[in-house]
Amino acid sequence: MRKATYMVAYTGIRATRNLLTACLLFSAGIATAGIWEEGDVEAGQALFNANCASCHKVTAEVLAAPGLAGIVDRWGASDEMLVKWIQNPQAAAEEGDGYIKSIVSRYVPTYGWMTAQAGSADDIKNIMAYVQTPPDVAPVTDAGSQCPTVDEMALPAEEGGSGIWFLILLVLFLIIALSAAGVNRSLTNAMNKDAGEDMLPELPYGNRIQNWAWDNRVVVSLIVIFFASYGAVLGYQGLMRIGVVEGYKPNQPIQFIHSVHVCENEVDCKYCHTSAYESKHAGIPSTNVCMNCHKAVKKGRRTGETEIAKIYEAIGFDATTATYVDGDGKSGYALPQDSFDGEPIRWNKVHNLPDHVYFSHQQHVVVGGLQCQNCHGDVETYTVGRVAKVDDINQLVDKYPGLIELSKPTLTMGWCIECHNKAEIDLASSGYYEEIHRRLKDNLRGNEELRKYLEDDKITVKELGGWECAKCHY
């Protein structure tokens, strides 16, 4: 049996309904008011951000598709056609409406067909309400200036200079001490000579230092103990960094800038990393997903055309005709599936877990409701992907409420189980946990366990077995 794996890719909210209800609601909606009136702006905004914002802006700015400012005045077909157009552009175009024909010929060659959206007529009404009167459209500025990447941020003043000063001073003091010792010796000899006593014996330096050390053994032992402890601490810290990959940022074949996509253009994480919601792997987007936008966006704000050209090369896209090229070098194909399927892009994997670790994104994101930032940090300030440092993640708590603060280095097992110890489970959140809860409540033995769990008034992942080996290793 073929398992239906193609969940609708980027429905962040569960507002999708089936076509039948859509039609029913639609006809009801038409009877009372047009599509442009009586929509819920707030619901519309949520829908817009989840489904439309990756290509359209509510301003006149062009992202991967025309901006929607003034759409209410521009739209030259019926309300019904608008709904049809959004739900299935190709089918709508086949109906032969003149206005639709005009927009097809104007936009499709440049931007390609819009992906059919599963929204109902009511959803579309809400979206239109939002598009007409966007409550908080930021003034058009150069967004780039507001989205610096960590690589561009000013580095905090290094405090590491003290070590060098310490060394310089140490050397200086040593020189002074040795010179003083020499002077002292000369003076003593001179005094002895004057007093007619024996000169100090001519010993090798080694012996002299030995004698000196023996004479001052308390101080010397203290110093030795100090340095030995210092060395031990450094050594221990060094050993503890083995296997710690915080900050790992390999070079990538394409200089992909997360901040441009996530911060400036507000593309949601799951638009590209869809499978984080469906699979254990978050996945790197396949090249055809890149093409959804880059069919239109041919020039990058920072890297110009060179990096985007690498995508075109991989998938077989001819930027001049805006069509795909087949294996024989013939262009003119509208769909990426018809292209020649060139060399795939070989990315360097950033987050590497050992082979015996079975981590599931779906478990953490869909069931656990974790935010991406909790493990990956503020990706919207990144250029290419990197392993976030735990301290940097902890600083994001204000920006992303609900983040769990941790202390162990990211991607270590200590970090995983620290979180499993802290993260709480809401027993009412799912029928699955409700059943587990019921079993605990409904019998004596379970009740004892439950009391144990609730000593601190919360049920953590650990208490439901999150620290057991075979939850992650098998």
Binding site: M1, R2, K3, A4, T5, Y6, V245, P250, S275, E278, S279, H281, G283, I284, P285, S286, T287, N288, V289, I315, P336, Q337, S339, D341, G342, P344, R346, W347, N348, K349, N352, P354, D355, H356, Y358, S360, Q362, V367, S430, G431, Y432, Y433, E434, E435, I436, R439, L440, N443, L444, R445, E448, E449, L464, G465, E468, C469, A470, K471, H473, Y474
Partner: protein
């Protein structure tokens, strides 16, 4: 006094031998003194000085350190165009159908990222379940010996050249023949018809194992040429004369399903199985009454049965025991009437016609035996013989061989090979260059069944579909497409196949795309045809038949040729997993051998015990003029005066490249070579010893000679114990009458499943005395703190019904593939280092007991010694054994590094990365289910020829959800924790409790008789929790109080109580 006691370190010390005294004087025996070492002259000639040594050491250390510093860069390569229905990390399942001429079954193929990695039964839309052979067949897709493309004259060719060759060949004068196995595909038949028409090609069907007599008998008695359909679900009494229907005979997967459905004691009735056979087969080991007969006597059993039921015929000349068994069987058959069923495995038309007559007399024809439109086994040996004759006469100009391998498995293979040299144009569509293909002028490799479209018509009511689950790995072409090309039809195979259905079987509406997609999704199309009515019994005089059968005489030794449940007829010879799966009866892996009764083994003075260092004796078996030397395995249940040898071995005897696992591996990773420098195959081929004088092939010889040679040969046997020596807490069994009498008694109280109690030093029964009567059940004792798993969260558990478990080993192979269990090869299996997470313990009954020993005055120890020996014709128990996931696990407490721990879901977890390999856990495991990785199986050269992880292609079959273990760690059954985790995740995601049946372990999924159930014991509505409360449920070794999460169900045999 106590301290006068002396202990000896060994017999040497006791006897104070000279050698021992010498050793005793030296603290370090055989040590070389320093002087002696330095005075060695050879030392002078070496050049490595101390400084050099230090340099090397220093360099190695630095190099190793530097190499360890660099973080490896791992590539991550996404799709360029992601297929819509593939999500990396998520498995897809596709319905398909397996058919190889032997097994026919609906399956679901699990693919990950487009790679098929597991084949399981299709329980929703399929018929029957699955077996070991089909389950393991996924390996053959990734066989690196598969042909990479078409070949001509031993060199690579292109398809145009091949097509040109055939097209030219088809215009030659002389017979042009397409030789195939039984074709069930309506589309392929249509294409063959087109080829017949366009080029005058004849079609000859040939089966590796011939069932021609069944067709002939059906034709003679009912006017239809068909293989009968046996409905064991409707039969209350089954009598099988040498038909191993649970293992290898006929449509075995469906038979397993049907037979077991009528073997559930809870339903209040059970069918009864009488078996008459020569070599203990899987079916024989599950029979309620099993009688040993010689091959020459099988026909007499049939005539005696006919005589007993109808009074027709003559009284057969049978031994007293056999006559009594026949009378017993006849009594049950008469009682069952139309719900009786008689079948015979012998491919002999006289026997089959007598069997037909018995079934007609019982009235079972039409209820439990149906002679109608089944297309199975249409092989026509008579036509094949004629073809071979014409080939030798030079009258055949063109021969196309497809899906059959007569150069290996024909009884007249020698003549076939000689004739093939006379055929001008010969082509084979085999996937590998097998015995036949390597002799053909050209090879036009077919797709693997997992790569191609196909349709199969077993009966008229449904067409089962085969769909590709991966793009072809090599430059192969579907045989259907090849035939279309040669017939000059330009249509591609897929379109042609759909046209067939539209034209012949379906109303036009069924031909829409959505309906077709639905059919592909389900794996079948219901046709608009009905199965034909079978004709009335034509009968006729059977005097000649029974006279011939009763006149059969045997010599000193008779030979029965059988198929092993694990290996079939040799089609899976290159499958390392099947080679390593122990035979269900003998538990021998990686070989075929002579099965011989203990009585004969003793009489001939051969080795009666086969163990790690106790090799088998080799005998020379001579049939007609040819002889083969094979080791002897003493097999309980083998009829004295007979031997049995398995077919399907000795593949690739001329070094044909049929797959590395088909040959004997050498220690250094190459192959064992024979004197002539050819690779030594596994086992020996005995197909030429079948009898092919008549129109059908029979698989027995009535007069052969067996001589001891004095040689020995090591056999790799996973279980050397034959009996459980009276330890009834391992296996509990009873007869159906006793079960029925106490079926409603509370669990733990029935006489056949009494709870085990232990004496305590407190007055439990309140009689005022503390005495032997005071005892408590084992669950009252807790040596350690109990793990809180009952009633808390999940408690994963399993139930195994010993009544329906047939020992078929489907679970073993399923577990093997699902969990990436290493294949370790014959030598390691012989050392008992087999790695199977799941094994099936096979216990034979002994006819000795402690009670009998007491009566006879045998001492207790001698009695136990005699209880080790199985009876000559023993009853058999098959007991699947894997980690019992004890809640008081003895292994967990002895691990010094806490690498094996208990989860709060009742699982005994194994953490490979913590394990340091002390093996304490294995020593402390009462069930001996823990396996230690003695070697780096995925890397060490000794395993290069058969370990799937060592082959760059075959490693694709590894399950990405399970770690491939490395050397030095312990491993064992995890209860498929990867499936549990993913099942729980699905439930959490859907926001529902885990539904019963949504998580199934690989073994439970594979079980063809549904004997294994898996689920959550804490879910009071689950199937397993109900079964575990059944009064047949018990824990193995209950008295040791380890509280397992695995329950066994008392075995119920449908025998009369006196015999139990």
């Amino acid at each position: 006094m106590a301290n006068t006691k002396r202990y000896w370190s060994g017999l040497d010390e006791l006897q104070e031998t000279e050698a021992f005294k010498n050793i005793q004087e030296q603290e370090f025996p055989e040590a070389k003194s320093v002087d002696e070492f330095l005075s060695d002259e050879r030392l002078e000639s070496t050049h490595t000085g101390r400084r050099d040594f230090l340099k090397f050491m220093g360099f190695s250390l630095t190099a190793a350190t530097l190499a360890a510093c660099e973080t490896p860069v791992i590539k991550s390569i996404p799709y360029t165009n992601k297929p819509e229905d593939v999500t990396p990390g998520v498995a897809n399942f596709y319905a398909s159908t397996y058919y190889d001429g032997h097994d026919f079954v609906n399956v679901l193929v699990k693919t990950r990222e487009g790679r098929p990695i597991f084949i399981k039964s299709n329980t929703k839309t399929g018929v029957g379940r699955i077996n070991a052979r089909v389950n393991a067949s996924v390996m053959s897709l990734y066989d690196s010996s598969r042909l990479q493309g078409p070949q001509m004259g031993g060199a690579d060719a292109n398809w145009d050249a091949i097509d040109q060759l055939i097209k030219t060949g088809l215009q030659q004068p002389g017979r042009k023949v397409l030789l195939t196995n039984t074709i069930l595909s309506p589309s392929l038949n249509r294409a063959i018809d087109a080829l017949k028409e366009s080029a005058g090609v004849e079609h000859v069907q040939y089966d590796a194992v011939d069932y021609g007599a069944f067709h002939a008998a059906s034709l003679a008695d009912f006017g239809v040429s068909s293989f009968p359909s046996y409905s064991f679900d409707k039969a209350n009494a089954v009598v099988s004369i040498g038909a191993d229907f649970l293992g290898t005979f006929g449509d075995t997967i469906v038979y397993n399903d049907r037979w077991s459905s009528n073997r559930r004691p809870e339903s209040g009735k059970m069918s009864r199985l009488h078996m008459f056979e020569t070599t203990m087969s899987l079916t024989g080991s599950n029979a309620d009454y099993r009688t040993m007969v010689k091959p020459s006597e099988q026909g007499k059993i049939a005539t005696a049965l006919l005589k007993a039921i109808t009074g027709q015929g003559v009284a057969a000349n049978l031994s007293e025991a056999a006559a009594a068994a026949v009378a017993n069987a006849a009594k049950d058959l008469k009682k069952a009437g139309a719900n009786g069923l008689v079948l015979a495995g012998s491919n002999d038309i006289n026997t089959q016609r007598i069997v037909n007559a018995i079934n007609v007399a019982l009235g079972s024809v039409g209820t439990s035996v149906i002679h109608s439109d089944s297309g199975l086994f249409q092989g026509d040996f008579k036509a094949f013989k004629a073809l071979v004759k014409d080939m030798n006469a030079g009258e055949v100009s063109t021969l196309i061989v497809s899906d059959c391998n007569p150069a290996y498995d024909a009884v007249n293979a020698e003549a076939f090979i000689a004739g093939l040299a006379n055929v001008k144009t010969s082509v084979s569509t085999s996937l590998v260059s097998d015995e036949t293909a390597s002799l053909c002028a050209a090879m036009a490799p077919n797709h693997h069944w997992l790569e191609s479209w196909g349709d199969l018509l077993l009966d008229q009511e449904r067409i089962d579909l085969v769909q590709p689950t991966i793009a072809p790995l090599f430059n192969s072409r579907a045989t259907g497409e090849s035939i279309l090309t040669w017939a000059g039809i330009p249509t591609d195979w897929y379109t042609y196949m759909r046209q067939t259905h539209a034209a012949n079987y379906e109303s036009s509406q069924m031909y829409t795309n959505s309906d077709w997609n639905k059919a592909v999704h389900n794996g079948f199309i219901a046709t608009n045809r009905a199965n034909g009515e079978f004709n009335a019994y034509a009968g006729g005089d059977l005097t000649a038949a029974w006279t011939e059968l009763n006149g059969r005489k045997g010599g000193a030794f008779e030979l029965a040729l059988y198929q092993k449940t694990t290996m079939g007829a040799g089609q899976h010879a290159a499958n390392p997993i099947l080679q390593e799966t122990p035979d269900p009866i003998t538990k021998v892996t990686w070989d075929n051998y002579v099965c011989m009764s203990h009585a004969d083994v003793d009489a001939m003075g051969l080795n009666g015990f086969i163990g790690q260092e106790a090799p088998a004796s080799v005998v020379k078996v001579t049939v007609g003029g040819s002889s083969i030397e094979l080791p002897v395995f003493p097999t309980p249940g083998q009829t004295p005066g007979t031997i049995g040898i398995a077919l399907g071995y000795g593949r690739g005897a001329n070094g044909e490249n049929i797959g590395k696992a088909a040959f004997q591996s050498a220690e250094n990773g190459s192959f064992q070579m024979d004197a002539s420098g050819k690779m030594t195959p596994v086992g020996a081929n005995v197909f030429p010893w079948a009898v092919g004088g008549g129109n059908h092939v029979e698989y027995a010889q009535y007069d052969i000679t067996v001589e001891a040679t004095g040689g020995t040969y090591p056999l790799a046997c996973t279980q050397i114990q034959n009996t459980f020596m009276g330890r009834e807490s391992i296996v509990k069994e009873t007869d159906f009458t006793s079960y029925f009498a106490e079926r409603d008694i509370k669990k733990g109280l029935a006489s056949w499943n009494k709870r085990i109690t232990l004496g305590v030093h407190e007055d439990v029964n309140g009689d005022g005395n503390i005495d032997a009567l005071d005892s408590k059940p084992t669950d009252a004792f807790d040596l350690w703190h109990e793990h809180a798993v009952e009633e808390v969260g999940h408690r994963w558990g399993m139930t195994i019904d010993l009544t329906t478990c047939t020992g078929c080993s489907g679970c073993v192979t399923a577990c093997h593939i699902e969990n990436n269990v290493p294949v370790v090869g014959k030598d390691e299996v012989r050392r008992h280092r087999d790695m199977h997470w799941m094994r099936i313990d096979r216990f034979f009954a002994s006819d000795y007991s402690l009670k009998k020993g007491e009566e006879e005055g045998t001492g207790v120890i001698s009695s136990y010694r005699r209880m080790e020996d199985p009876a000559l014709n023993p009853q058999t128990v098959h007991m699947p054994m894997m980690c019992q996931h004890c809640n008081h696990a003895p292994c967990e407490t002895v691990c010094p590094v806490a690498a094996t721990t208990h989860s709060n879901e009742g699982l005994n977890q194994m953490t490979y990365n913590r394990c340091i390999g002390t093996r304490y856990c294995a020593n402390n495991c009462p069930y001996k289910v823990r396996r230690f990785n003695w070697f780096n199986y995925p890397g060490y050269k000794k395993f290069a020829n058969f370990n799937p992880a060592q082959d760059s292609l075959m490693r694709m079959v590894l399950n990405p959800d399970v770690t491939v273990r490395s050397r030095g760690v312990m491993e064992k059954c995890s209860m498929c924790v990867q499936r549990i985790q993913s099942g729980k995740l699905d439930a959490k995601k859907d926001g529902t409790p885990v539904q019963d049946g949504s998580i199934v372990t690989a073994c439970a999924e594979a079980c063809p008789t549904n004997a294994i159930s898996f689920g959550d014991l804490n879910d009071k509505k689950s199937g397993v929790s109900a079964i575990s409360e059944n009064n047949r449920a018990y824990h193995a070794l209950e008295e040791i109080g380890v509280k397992p999460n695995i329950f066994y169900m008392t075995k119920v045999r449908n025998v009369e109580p006196t015999q139990a």
